[in-house]
């Protein structure tokens, strides 16, 4: 079987923030990058299925050359191949269109995406991708029971409050994978070194479609009244916290 896992190198904002001159995004100097947390769970789930049923796990990401770091992280976990679609758009419609062409060409049995990315929290790309591919889908999946012969997968979707919605999905299907579904493996040093040597297949995406939205302005939100900050040494902070707790609880 073939499983395509769509992953993302996310951007992480540190303690300080400055904006680009046009005010539409954060100055890249203030951003670090990392593999999206959800995507390590999606990759692990794909690897476990491959280990049980055979086949291959193909990684696809959308972004500039730097985003290959995320691909190499997941290659080191054990994925077979990696494809990067050269594209700059960041909204879910543009990203899903860029991914769709490549994913379709792979004719996968299953497509996994993370539920959302930690830098944007849109929870939309996987669902749009399924629509573009004409595939059924399930969002926020915490269990994947794949029946190869019946060409269907029984999944649990994690609803609010932890209630589970058990759903039978025809395959091929797109599933968005929730954190905690498994325990993502650590790559050993040798695998990490080997992954550095793998050639990433780079494709281009012609895109003339409409984006989901346009960013008009980015800004640091007003804190409202915000928290009253307690300053001082650890002992002084602890003293103040103890006093507040004792006063509130009587």
């Amino acid at each position: 079987m073939r499983i395509v896992v769509c992953i993302k190198q996310v951007l992480v904002l540190g303690d300080e923030v400055e904006f680009q001159d046009d005010g539409l995004d954060v100055d890249p100097d203030y951003l670090d990058s990392a593999l999206n947390e959800w995507d390590s769970f999606a990759t692990e789930e794909a690897l476990q299925l491959r280990e049980r049923l055979g086949g291959e796990v193909v990684l696809v990401t959308c972004g500039a050359r730097e985003s290959e770091a995320a691909l190499r992280r997941c290659l080191a976990m054990g994925a077979d191949r990696a494809i990067r679609v050269e594209a700059t758009g960041r909204d879910p419609f543009t990203v899903a269109r860029a991914l769709a062409e490549v994913v379709r060409a792979e004719s996968p049995d299953l497509v996994f995406c993370g539920v959302q990315s930690s830098d944007a929290v849109q929870a939309a790309t996987g669902t749009v991708l399924a629509e573009l591919l004409g595939l059924p889908r399930a969002a926020v999946v915490t269990r994947v029971g794949y029946d190869e012969d019946a060409r269907k997968v029984v999944v649990d979707r994690e609803l609010e409050g932890g209630l589970l919605d058990r759903v039978e999905v025809d395959t091929p299907a797109v599933l968005t994978i929730q954190t905690g579904i498994n325990e993502p493996r650590y790559a050993n040093l040798r695998a990490i070194k080997q992954a550095e040597q793998v050639e990433v297949d780079v494709r281009s995406a012609a895109d003339d479609g409409m984006p989901a939205y346009r960013v008009r302005r980015m800004f640091v939100p007003e804190r409202g009244e915000g928290a009253e900050m307690i300053d001082g040494s650890p002992a002084e902070i602890a003293g103040r916290i103890a006093a507040i707790v004792k006063e509130r609880l009587g």
Binding site: L13, D15, V17, V26, L31, P92, A96, D119, A120, V121, Q122, A123, A124, T127, V128, E131, P136, R137, A138, A139, V154, R157, E158, L159, E160, G162, L163, L164, D165, R166, V167, V169, A173, T176, T179, E183, A212, Y213, R214, V215, R216, M218, F219, V220, P221, G224, A227, M229, I230, D231, P234, I237, A238, R240, I241, A242, I244, V245, R248, L249
Partner: protein, 312 residues
Amino acid sequence: MSVLVVAEHIRGQVRDVTRELITAGRELGPVTVAVIARDPAPLVDAVNVEGVAEIVTVQVATDEFENDAYQSAVEALITDRRPRVTLLGFTVNSMGYGPAAAAKLGLGFASDVHGVALEGDAVVATRSFYGSKVSAELDFPGAESVMLLLRPTTWVPAEGPGGASVSSFEVTASPSRARHLELVEPATSTDVDITQAGFLLSIGRGIGEKENVEMFRELAEKMGATLSVSRPLVDAGWMPASRQVGQSGKTVKPTVYLAFGISGAVQHLAGMKTSGTIIAVNTDPEAAIFNVAHYGARADLFDVAEELEKLF
């Protein structure tokens, strides 16, 4: 400026988020609420609240939510009624079909939206990026119609008697490709019920390692608090799900919520922001939890915890 709100329900009960959407929607224009169910009639009263002009029922083949049934119903409604704005909750169910319908119909789209405004005829949505540390205003040039998935527990649920007209809308259904089988309760546990605690000491990813859980467990015991956690600690298998605060865990409202090393992901804040007094200790001064905390301290968690232990 017409507004379509899609009601969300489970086990025959309309969820609170629906009336939150109505509150957001009625600021924009006359609201039509769509109730999609096998038997919509009993759900109509719960959404007939102040500000709703029309309720339209759509009969589908399934009691509980299914992607395909909701998507085809909502697409047909939008095509027929041409609302300027369609509002869904930013919920697990909406995530499965909302973005797909928006992409298919060529709508403008944004999710986890926590502010909506009209500027003339233009819709402007506000949402957060980069761990809620920055906000962005989005607009939708060229889109005649916009779908927004609104963050739950942001608007006050609409109340008061409504006088909406009720009509039904026919949709031709195609066979569902993802079929609801059953709802499964999370494993029952004999653990303490954190929703009943008056004082929660809550720990998050900032504690670093599993070995450090014990230190905070002891601190909680000394302080007379119940230990709770944010999602990453449950995902890592360090603590059981029964102790998890947040959207996918428990919603809590203790007298005092003392958080160590919790950055304050939106889903976590949704589960604790109405607590009586919130105190947060974190090394990151920009951590989003300081937005909802009453008291905050930027400090090393372990130093503060050690000092605190001496005081109880």
